[in-house]
């Protein structure tokens, strides 16, 4: 589950100037401008296609656009939602669930990952049950979670937790296992022992891997939250999307989808940004490699 490419793409940010090296002047070559223009045009074309298909209520074989709202209606519904008090209610609920589920997954995933990656006894004792649970998609937990927890609220937090924990755990384990044994040996020879080895060497050394896991976990976390909200929620963006369907407010469905996308993207960006600032040395290394 380690994704070195994601890692590089996720954490490699804009180049910080390195002292002693000539600084490269920022350039806007013609190639980039064209790429930007092509991207914008492609987006515009997709919008137009959507508009055309929706307004003409096209039937294309087994797929029909008869009930798909055109972009203009979606825009209207979006503006309406933005100005209504329902928005903060839905967003607030979703964010609270994500916050609780994701943060506990981050704590548990990183904590267990450090132990399992570092100590053979922990790996022997803890990995087998985790390996059994891992292939079960978090969404499959929904019915049992509803039965297990006192409120649907807590069960939805549990589902987001389940969705986020495995990528975080596995990337942490991987990061810890990849710690250079010579770094550990050096630290020991310099007088490091016990818990300080974790704080001073293992954790920082595994940090890039941990942040990869945290960023992947944020994505799966939203996926699971939305599914859970659709099935058992009251309030929440996923619930709003599903409710729009049941109320035949078709523009609302697309608005909900777009909001989910935007929040998912923003929260992943937040995690990447945190990773970026927590590991400034890593960017320099990546650039050199």
């Amino acid at each position: 589950m380690s994704l070195p490419d994601t890692l590089a793409a996720g954490l490699a940010g804009p180049a910080a100037p390195v002292a002693g090296q000539p600084r490269r002047l920022p350039r806007w070559p013609a190639g980039r401008l064209t790429a930007f223009a092509v991207g914008a045009l492609s987006l515009l074309a997709s919008l137009l296609l959507w508009h055309a298909l929706a307004t003409s209520r096209a039937h294309l074989g087994f797929i029909t656009f008869a009930h798909v709202p055109p972009p203009s209606e979606v825009l209207e519904a979006g503006i309406e939602l933005l100005s209504s008090p329902k928005l903060s209610l839905h967003v607030g609920h979703s964010l609270a669930r994500i916050g609780a589920g994701y943060l506990s997954a981050a704590l548990a995933g990183v904590g267990l990952g450090l132990l399992i990656g570092r100590f053979r006894w922990a790996a022997r004792a803890l990995l087998p049950p985790l390996e059994v649970l891992r292939p079960i998609p978090a969404v499959a937990w929904i019915p049992l979670a509803i039965l297990m927890f006192p409120s649907t609220e807590v069960s939805m937090m549990f589902i987001t937790f389940t969705g986020a924990i495995f990528p975080i755990l596995l990337n942490t384990i991987h990061g810890v296992e990849a710690v250079d044994p010579r770094l550990v040996a050096s630290a020991r020879s310099l007088g490091t022992r016990g818990p300080r080895l974790f704080a001073e060497v293992i954790l920082p050394s595994a940090a890039p891997g941990i942040f990869t896991g945290l960023s992947i976990g944020m994505g799966t976390c939203w996926f699971c939250l939305v599914s859970a909200e659709m099935i058992s929620g009251q309030f929440g963006i996923g619930y709003y999307t599903w409710e729009s369907y049941t109320l035949q407010n078709y523009a609302g469905i697309v608005v909900g989808m777009l909001f989910i996308g935007a929040f998912g993207m923003a929260s992943s960006a937040l995690v990447r940004w945190l990773g970026h600032f927590a590991t400034p040395w890593y960017r320099l290394q990546e650039k050199k490699a």
């Binding site: 020991r188 920082p204 290394q285």
Partner: protein, 282 residues
């Protein structure tokens, strides 16, 4: 009246055996190695690749448990790593997430020395190894030679009784290596610790050492103990003298790798990264 002379940095290895592997694949990496390094002595361990030089050093550092024999520092048995025995590897063992200053000050931090004192003591050593002005840089922003200077400063801050150096300049280009050898001798002239320096570069051993211990191919044994008589301070010109070259010839004859057994897989006792086939610089 008796004067108590406090001797620091005397290393004794007595009949050291080290084995690796399990069951039938178990083998002896080091066989019956004995040596004595007196206080402030500069000893080079020279030997073909895979003969167990790093293993001996790793045992002295306290990272490898010997199968038999005794390891002593100033008469006390070595068990486990300790800042008294500073270890320097070939490359990439600085903490990449710490600045030069924090890397050098790390040993003091582990001792619980307060921040301001750490900083000035680290600055002193950074200046000693010629890196003033680079305190805030990360290791990846430094050249290989500069990184090795930081490594040296980082272990010296603990005022070790013995410096264990495992091919510390092995990854540097010839020119930088010469500079670093000179720097090490300068530093050593001021901070007189015992040094055990592993290399497979004969020139380097002859230029640096008071004594060269030559090891045989695996299982490593010590096959010769050569006194290097050149006066100090030593200059680069030394390497062109007749005396230097005749000692060098002697070492080459001892090592003659082409007649030895086929080279073995390089596995390292401390996960040393394998960079290139070992070679004897001539």
């Amino acid at each position: 009246m008796t004067t108590v002379v406090h001797l620091r940095g005397r290393v004794d290895i007595q009949h050291l055996d080290i084995e690796f592997g399990q069951g039938t694949s178990r083998f002896k990496a080091v066989s019956d190695v004995s040596l004595a390094a007196s206080t402030g002595e500069f000893i080079c361990l020279l030997g073909p690749s895979g003969c167990g030089k790093s293993t001996v050093l790793g045992a002295l550092a306290g990272h490898i448990v010997p199968s038999a024999g005794r390891l002593l520092l100033d008469g006390e048995a070595i068990n486990g790593p300790h800042p008294d025995r500073g270890l320097v590897f070939q490359q990439h063992t600085l903490f990449p997430w710490k600045s030069v200053l924090d890397n050098v000050a790390f040993g003091l931090k582990m001792q619980g020395v307060p921040g301001p004192e750490r900083t000035w003591r680290a600055r002193e050593l950074i200046e000693l190894v010629g890196l003033k002005g680079f305190e805030r840089h990360y290791p990846s922003q430094l050249s290989g030679g500069m990184q090795q200077r930081v490594e040296i400063a980082r272990v010296l801050i603990n005022q070790p009784r013995v410096l264990l150096m495992d091919e510390p300049f092995g990854a540097l280009d010839a020119q930088t290596r010469l500079k670093m050898q000179q720097l090490l001798l300068d530093v050593w002239a001021r901070i007189r610790t015992t040094v055990l320096f592993v290399t497979h570069d004969i020139d380097e051993a002859l230029f640096l050492a008071d004594r060269i211990l030559v090891m045989s191919a695996r299982p490593g044994r010590i096959i010769d103990d050569i006194r290097v008589p050149f006066a100090r301070p030593r200059e680069a010109q030394l390497t062109t003298t007749h005396a230097f070259n005749s000692l060098k010839r002697h070492c080459l004859e001892l090592l003659h790798p082409q007649n030895g057994p086929a080279p073995l897989d390089r596995l390292s006792p401390l996960g040393d990264s394998v960079l290139s086939e070992a070679h004897f610089a001539i």
